[in-house]
């Protein structure tokens, strides 16, 4: 109780920059961060001016934006070591506010992809439109290649064996064995870069001799790619109605319901 009163006191006395919604946010406990305890966090916040906290949030936002350019998950330990430093005790609050900035200003969302090692990726919350001219869309020609692979996986029920992907790409004159003008080493791009970026999952099928692998959608794809848009795109190519693919249509509808909630 005394904690709360003290917090209220500090707000009124020294908070010219304090935004009203921050008060609300403190009440809503985020379960994904268990440490430090909420009372520790409160005490930590009490010791800092709102301007100090804002500054830290801005630094974290910048750090994550720079790191995200490589599209590799960003470890919590790295954020703490390089930016948060002595503000460690209010880490959850800082991350929460950074995430609000990402959503409000950039249309991104900070997602924890690896709860064990605490790593984050930034996913794009803006609708991805496959028909959007490539020049306008933020992204690379690689996105087109990725889109093809994701749609193959999706249309084949969520998982495909490795040769399926290579054969599809071959039809588009992209050969995994050759160096491609635009994509370079295609095999490396698909099985390493896209995997590292969490667009694809590439796993060994157990008990196979010789070794076989299969592809699934990665976490980033699940968060960023609109399945309904993808299905609509595929059905246009085939000149069919999206409903023709009952299973995919159901899944896309379910995903749509899920994303509109969040």
């Amino acid at each position: 109780m005394s904690q709360k009163r003290r917090l209220a006191g500090t707000q009124s006395s020294q908070s010219r920059v304090f935004m009203p919604n921050e008060v609300v946010m403190e009440e809503d406990e985020d379960v994904s961060f268990t440490q430090p305890s909420s009372s520790q966090l409160q005490r930590g916040l009490d010791r800092l001016t709102p301007a100090q906290v804002d500054r830290k949030v801005a630094e974290v936002v910048q750090f994550i934006l720079i790191k995200d350019q490589k599209k590799v998950p960003i470890k919590r330990a790295d954020i703490v070591k390089n930016v948060i430093k002595e503000y460690k005790n209010i880490y959850p609050e800082i991350i929460k506010r950074a995430n609000m900035k990402f959503e409000k200003v950039f249309g991104f969302q900070l997602v924890e992809v690896d709860p064990k090692n605490h790593a984050y990726i930034l996913v794009n919350k803006l609708e991805q439109n496959p028909r959007q001219p490539a020049v306008m869309s933020p992204g690379h020609p690689k996105t087109g290649l990725l889109f093809v692979i994701l749609s193959v996986i999706f249309m084949k029920g969520g998982v495909v064996k490795e040769p399926v992907v290579w054969n599809t790409l071959k039809k588009l004159r992209v050969d995994q064995g050759e160096k491609h003008e635009e994509f370079g080493d295609v095999k490396k791009l698909v099985t390493e870069e896209f995997v590292r970026q969490r667009y694809l999952e590439y796993t060994r099928i157990p008990h196979t001799e010789p070794l076989e692998h299969e592809f699934r959608w990665g976490v980033r794809a699940e968060k960023e790619v609109d399945k309904m848009k993808m299905l609509e795109f595929v059905s246009q190519v085939h000149d069919q109605e999206p409903q023709t693919w009952t299973k995919q249509y159901k899944e896309a509808m379910a995903a749509k319901g899920g994303s509109s909630r969040s």
């Binding site: 630094e59 910048q62 720079i66 790191k67 200003v105 249309g107 028909r131 020049v135 933020p138 246009q236």
Partner: protein, 264 residues
């Protein structure tokens, strides 16, 4: 911050971030495209207003979309700059210490030169005297080409110049480090590297080449705007944006055809 951002603003910001730097006419096209996609009201001349609103949200994060002129073609460009940390540490996550030192040395050469360039030979020679860790010629060339690829440097016929993006992002840093060694353009007052310089030793002002083109256009007797001495340099021709954008119509038509093909 009375008005909130819409997805059209966010998409525009993302596109700028992805491109690193965007030429004015492209920025306009992207602005229009973003507004169409997200059904946001759009007028032809509202780009700066649109950007101002985004900037009001970026400011608390110490970032800004800034407009600046390219020293090469004189066109306006937009880029997202980081205002908290204007020095090279911004690049530190991508470059090793000796690579950053090479970049600083290249910058030294450019600042010291009269015309804002550093020859590749001079840069390669620097690589031997790096204090952090020496670099082989081959390595140096790779680092340089990476710096060009990442849009920190430009390269033309073996001469390196600072890219527009680099100047826009590091202007404050450059001014702090080099102080009196760098000069501002007498016409646009931005920092000037690739430029013409007044030959009067007691004057010595600099004018960007595209600024000189505009300033001296049609003047028979070009004189220095500061000391009124004769301006002995060749008056460059104005490069209009239409000249540059001759490249874009085929691209634009490619977009529209691919789009209409897919629409069917």
């Amino acid at each position: 911050m009375a008005v909130t951002l819409f997805d059209s603003h966010r998409r525009f910001l993302q596109t700028i971030m992805c491109n690193g730097i965007m030429e004015g006419s492209k920025a306009k096209a992207v602005h229009r495209h973003c507004c169409e996609v997200y059904h946001t009201p759009y007028t032809d001349d509202s780009l700066d207003e649109f950007i101002d609103l985004i900037n009001s949200y970026l400011q608390p994060l110490f970032m800004q979309i800034r407009k600046g002129m390219s020293e090469d073609d004189g066109l306006q460009y937009y880029t997202l700059v980081n205002m908290a940390e204007t020095d090279i540490t911004r690049m530190s996550s991508d470059y090793a210490d000796n690579e950053l030192e090479l970049f600083r040395k290249t910058m030294d050469l450019i600042v010291d030169s009269e015309n804002g360039t550093a020859s590749s030979t001079d840069v390669l020679n620097c690589a031997d005297s790096l204090q952090t860790k020496k670099m082989k010629k081959k390595e140096t060339e790779q680092v340089l080409s990476r710096l060009v690829q990442d849009k920190w440097l430009n390269e033309k016929h073996g001469e390196y110049t600072l890219s527009t993006r680099c100047i826009m992002e590091m202007e404050q840093y450059i001014r702090n480090i080099y102080q009196d060694l760098v000069k501002s353009c007498a016409i646009c007052h931005n920092i000037a590297f690739q430029s013409q310089m007044c030959c009067n030793p007691s004057c010595g002002i600099k004018i960007h080449i595209p600024c000189a083109a505009r300033y001296y256009k049609g003047r028979v007797d070009p004189r220095c705007p500061a000391c009124s001495k004769f301006w002995p340099h060749e008056i460059p021709a104005i490069r209009t944006s239409s000249q540059v954008s001759t490249l874009s119509p085929p691209v634009a038509s490619a977009i529209s055809t691919s789009q209409s093909r897919r629409m069917r």
